[in-house]
């Protein structure tokens, strides 16, 4: 996708250079104007509800005043702190299990079992076709079996991995496609590497950014998941916020917690997109 731009440039470049510069500049100016307008409008549209949420999170007990109570309540509100901790743990577990499950399988399929890649892609994208609200209906019996062996709401990670499959798959496959995995693998094998070494010491390190992306997309999904937790009667972050909003007159803590989780996810994604960049060689 990093297009091979050297081809064909020479004969055209001369023609382009002779072209009146005005045309390029005009197009560039129009394009820039377009970009400014689009980004401004989009930025406003995105920011407006967030700002409203921020304002409500700083609302005092009387409408119109300012107060930091809602933010302080994130840790002190009964039931909320537990739900937050639970959801964060779930996010970590789900992300790790996702990558541990998906990455070796993807590399393995790409290198050794290519005929399965179509079917594999289908399976990974299948959760988009079987949405959470439909899946949860058939999920209760499966979960009842699991619950006989455990109690913890952390067991939700089993189904969260499935929910996040399409997103993680997309992230990892774009990373895998960007490197020439087959050549790397053949080179490593010809130097005597085992398959394990090929996968985890050669291919995976070249995909660091994609792996981090997959981890974070999965984490973001878990932080925002409501349907399955709510209908399977668990008390993670989103059902807790829903419950608080229905039972409490001053629901400022709903807004402050949502803002906090949004900022958290956004900060992580931004930082890691920069960190990943530095690691890439050449």
């Amino acid at each position: 996708m990093a297009a091979v731009t050297s081809l064909g440039e020479t004969p055209l470049a001369g023609a382009a250079a002779r072209r009146p510069q005005g045309m390029q500049r005009r197009r560039r100016r129009r394009l820039n104007a377009f970009r400014y307008v689009v980004f401004t409008l989009f930025g406003l549209f995105v920011a407006a509800p967030l700002l409203a949420m921020l304002r409500f999170s700083l609302e005092g007990t009387k409408l119109g005043t300012w107060s930091l109570t809602a933010w302080k309540q994130i840790v002190s509100y009964p039931g909320l702190a537990g739900a937050v901790a639970l959801t964060l743990e779930l996010a970590v577990i789900t992300s790790i299990v996702m990558v541990v499950l998906l990455l070796p399988t993807m590399i393995w399929i790409k290198l050794r079992v290519q005929w399965m890649s179509r079917a594999f892609e289908f399976l990974c994208l299948l959760p988009l076709t079987i949405p959470a609200i439909a899946l949860v209906v058939g999920l209760a019996p499966v979960y009842n079996r699991i619950q006989h062996y455990s109690l913890s709401a952390l067991q939700l990670f089993w189904v969260y991995v499935v929910l996040a499959l399409p997103y993680a798959y997309r992230a990892l496959s774009s990373g895998l496609d960007a490197i020439d995995a087959t050549t790397l693998a053949e080179a490593a094998r010809s130097l005597g590497a085992s398959w394990f070494t090929v996968m985890f010491r050669v291919i995976a390190p070249n995909m660091w950014q994609a792996i981090l992306n997959a981890l974070l997309l999965t984490g973001a999904l878990v932080l925002g998941e409501f349907t399955i937790a709510y209908l399977l009667l668990y008390n993670t972050l989103q059902p807790a916020l829903y419950s608080i909003s229905r039972n409490t007159p001053n629901a400022g803590v709903v807004f402050s917690t949502s803002m906090a989780s949004l900022l958290f996810a956004f900060a992580l994604l931004t930082i890691l997109s920069y960190a990943g960049r530095q690691r890439r060689r050449g």
Binding site: V46, M53, P127, A134, P141, R189, A220, Q238, V254, L269
Partner: protein, 288 residues
């Protein structure tokens, strides 16, 4: 030695202590097992139970409830909402994606936009509904939109909020695939911007665009949390009715009815996603 072994000439590996050669596809078993248990099995359960009565006996006519006026209403409601939010999200999202793609590939703007889209595409549910209620609800900061609680307009606006970022994420690779040289070539032959898009850019991007639109449709169809938090006195859409069928305390809780609705929903989404897959394949031919 190892090269010969890896090319599968039939000779056993020279290295001692290694496992005997098993078929390579066995390496995918953990994944297949996992998906089998947590995706395929629940789906199987719900498909089978859709044809059963609460008492457990078979009821092959249960799908006929999908034709009843009430259920038809839910599907029509879902359809309206999904079409509106998918089209709005696709059109505006494509514009934003183009604006992002035409900047520096490694620049701050692109980086931030992609990160923001990644987060916002997941930002739905309870918190988004409240954010919009804070903005244009009855006690809204900006103004009180009288249509905020009208179906489908208010909820379409909310859905568009996460549809646009999703469109950006899904459509950006396609725009990236539009090679610079094509634009330059058409320019050098004297075409205007409009002509370029009409004859080259448009047709090339069309499969990816419509594919992404279908993906947005499926995404809106599945959404439950957002509309549940938006209002919960009337069930307009299929997901809301599934929620009611699972948790109603007035005697209308009926898991089998929920199964039937879920089954209908899966069929609808499957059709849409097949269209998406076909269009993606077409798009990939030109834009890989």
């Amino acid at each position: 030695m190892t090269v010969a072994a890896s090319t599968g000439a039939g000779a056993r590996p020279v290295r001692a202590g290694r496992l005997p050669r098993l078929p390579a596809w066995l390496g995918t078993l953990p994944f297949l097992g996992y998906v089998g248990v947590f995706l395929l099995w629940p789906t199987g359960i719900l498909v089978v139970d859709a044809f059963k009565n609460p008492s457990g006996s078979w009821n092959f006519g249960s799908l006929s409830t999908l034709y009843s006026p009430a259920v038809r209403g839910y599907f029509i409601g879902s359809f309206k909402l999904c079409v509106l939010s998918a089209v709005a999200g696709a059109v505006f999202g494509a514009l934003v994606a183009y604006a992002v793609a035409s900047g520096k590939p490694d620049g701050v703007v692109r980086r931030l936009s992609v990160a923001a889209s990644g987060v916002l595409a997941q930002f739905g549910g309870v918190t988004l509904a409240f954010a919009f209620q804070a903005l244009i609800g009855p006690a809204g900061l900006l103004f009180h939109a009288g249509w905020y609680y009208n179906f489908p307009w208010g909820i379409t606006l909310i859905y568009t909020y996460f549809q646009i970022p999703l469109m950006v994420l899904v459509f950006l690779p396609a725009i990236d695939g539009l090679k610079v040289q094509w634009r330059e070539a058409s320019e050098s032959l004297g075409s205007s911007t409009w002509q370029f898009w009409r004859h080259i850019g448009g047709p090339l991007l069309a499969p990816a665009f419509f594919g992404s639109l279908l993906l947005l449709f499926a995404n809106a169809l599945s959404a439950f949390a957002t509309i549940q938090a938006w209002e919960n006195q009337i069930a307009y859409t299929v997901p809301q009715q599934i929620g009611t069928a699972l948790s109603s305390e007035v005697g209308l809780a009926n898991v089998n009815a929920a199964d039937v609705l879920a089954f209908g929903m899966i069929v609808m989404v499957a059709i849409v996603m097949t269209g998406y897959a076909l269009l993606q394949r077409r798009a990939a031919r030109w834009l890989r």
